[in-house]
Amino acid sequence: MELRTTVRWAMAASAVLALVTTACATKEAPIVSPPSTTGSEFRDQPVRPDAPRRTGTAAPSLEPVYFDFNRYDIRADAKPLLRSNAKAIMENEQWGVVIIEGYCDERGSEEYNLALGEQRARAVKRYLSDLGVSSRRMEIVSFGEAKPAVMGHDESAWRYNRRSEFKTGS
């Protein structure tokens, strides 16, 4: 066993020696490239348990409202719902800050939908503010096309995913 290992070492050493001498003799020394960084890992850590919650609790009496494709103006059918939401928010001080979330259906650029979801949430906030809800009690956040309310890939799902929802922090 020991002898075989020695033989292997000798073979390897002579191979290297041969390589070196021939390379020098023929000036064929290769270009040597440094190791690449490709393949080394990115790391992450789970969100800390004490980090703020991603979403609050759904406010029981605050109805979601829906939007048309690529639009963020408040639809006529949404206005009665928002009026009753405004009344509920003003009557329930204990809810504290209400978070108005904007969402889109799955179609189109995700980044555009993030910006569009913000516009939807902002339009709702503006409407509630006009009805007398204090701006200090409202925050907006967009999730774009992430977190659809209804799974599906046609209008029957999309119509319920283009929406604004309400969450309360408490």
Partner: protein
């Protein structure tokens, strides 16, 4: 001498025979006219010898696996077709790289334009290979080089780096098989950033925080990924992760902590980041220096301005605005001046991606309810489809050599990442795992 002349004649003949096939005149009336051409129009044929295994403990299967990996990486380029070793007249296995030149006629006779010889060493802590590549028609050695990768693992990374060198030796443009693509997947249950090799192999998580993560963007040196995450609370924020470092850090400073941060994109030098922040009632485009200083606002209005992409010289930014009433692509100087509208066709044009050679801006366009990838030149003179399919094709990202584009497509139902040549050929699906796979970001060349 005689065989060199005949090889040149053969090459000319092959090119003449291939010419009608590559112009795709047969089905020109069925397809929209595509005036773009890939980085290299010519296809070469390569003979890849089985490398001599000089490992301390050699193994026949190791050299065979390496040979397969090298062949796959060469064919990934779309530049090479690899000749079956059964057809070889010359030696199937490299004897020594210090041998005299090969008998080139052995290789030209089987149609090989390139011959690759090599030696392989794989040990406990190192994978290395040395190779030389021959232009068989001129019987000239184009390159001899040695690669060494530390750590354990398969040697396919070395094979891919060799293939990319061989591509450059023949075309003048470095291959991209050794690059990586970042993307977003919900395969674990939450939307996380992943990185895979450019051929779709070795997918691995780059984030694991169980919140929403999106829009990966590489630093030009490939060490860092910038992305948008809801990891710190009820609001999207920009983070940067660097290889080998534990905790991702915020991109902007504390003073900007109040408002949503939607997306960040490094400029080609790494000196600036274009960022999309909510301001004054809508998303706006800014630039900032890495570290968070020097925040500068480029767009200033109450409409959506998003999706910045840098020209390769860093002097201009293309982006999306809905100031006209629908999302369209615009171009401005990197200081916000000299704004001009680029796209006019259709009512939904988003996600511009400027090609590495500066000649094209790929973007996604919605026509009759269908999203496709289009190419427009920065002057707006030529506007042609790259990917056309009844299902949705979105989020184009360029390979660093500018010959391929990655995108996401729902053509098989749930979105997956695909790549395609600039010629519209060689469509290839990269993600095969469960879940939705979106937002590809093709990484830079490895250093």
């Amino acid at each position: 001498m005689e065989h060199c002349v005949s090889a040149a004649l053969r090459a000319a003949l092959v090119m003449a025979l291939l010419a009608p096939a590559t112009s795709r005149s047969a089905n020109a009336e069925e397809r929209p006219a595509i005036v773009v051409t890939p980085g290299s129009e010519q296809t070469y044929r390569a003979a890849v010898q089985r490398f001599a295994d000089l490992s301390f403990f050699p193994g026949a299967e190791r050299a065979a696996a390496f040979q397969r990996a090298l062949a796959e990486a060469l064919e990934f380029s779309s530049v090479f077709r690899v000749i079956d070793a059964e057809a070889f007249l010359g030696p199937a296995v490299t004897a020594s790289l210090d041998d005299p030149p090969p008998v080139c006629s052995d290789w030209t006779q089987i149609g090989a334009d390139a011959l690759i010889e090599g030696e392989l060493r794989v040990d406990a802590s190192e994978r290395s290979a040395e190779f030389r590549v021959w232009d068989t028609a001129r019987c000239r050695r184009l390159l001899r080089k040695r690669y060494r990768e530390s750590g354990v693992g398969d040697a396919s990374i070395v094979a891919r780096r060799i293939a990319d060198d061989v591509v450059e030796a023949f075309t003048g443009v470095h291959g991209v098989s050794a690059t990586e693509i970042a993307f977003v997947s919900n395969r674990s249950g939450s939307s996380e950033i992943y990185v895979m090799d450019a051929d779709g192999s070795h997918p691995r998580a780059a984030t694991a925080n169980s919140s929403l993560n999106n829009f990966p963007s590489w630093s030009p040196n490939g060490d860092s990924i910038l992305y948008t995450s809801y990891r710190s609370g009820n609001r999207p924020m920009l983070f940067i992760s660097t290889r080998g470092q534990g905790r991702p850090g915020p991109v902007l400073r504390d003073g900007d902590s109040g408002r949503p941060q939607y997306r960040g994109v490094f400029d080609p030098t790494g000196d600036r980041i274009a960022v999309v922040l909510s301001a004054g009632g809508a998303a706006e485009v800014y630039t900032v220096r890495p570290g968070g200083r020097g925040l500068r606002r480029l767009t200033n209005n109450r409409v959506i301005d998003i999706a910045p992409t840098w020209s390769p010289d860093g002097k201009q930014i293309a982006f999306v605005s809905d100031r006209s009433g629908s999302p369209q692509v615009y171009v401005m100087d990197a200081d916000g001046k000299n704004l001009r509208r680029l796209t006019y066709d259709g009512s939904y044009n988003t996600h511009p991606a400027w090609s590495p050679d500066g000649k094209w801006i790929a973007y996604e366009s919605r026509i009759e309810g269908q999203f496709d990838i289009w190419l427009i030149d920065p002057d707006g003179n030529v506007n042609v489809p790259l990917v056309f399919h009844p299902r949705n094709d979105e989020s184009p990202s360029w390979a660093p050599d500018g010959t391929k584009v990655a995108f996401s497509s729902t053509r098989r139902g749930r979105p997956d990442i695909y790549i395609i040549d600039l010629s519209g050929e060689n469509l290839r699906r990269l993600t095969r795992d469960a879940g939705s796979n979106t937002s590809p970001a093709w990484g830079p060349y490895p250093r």
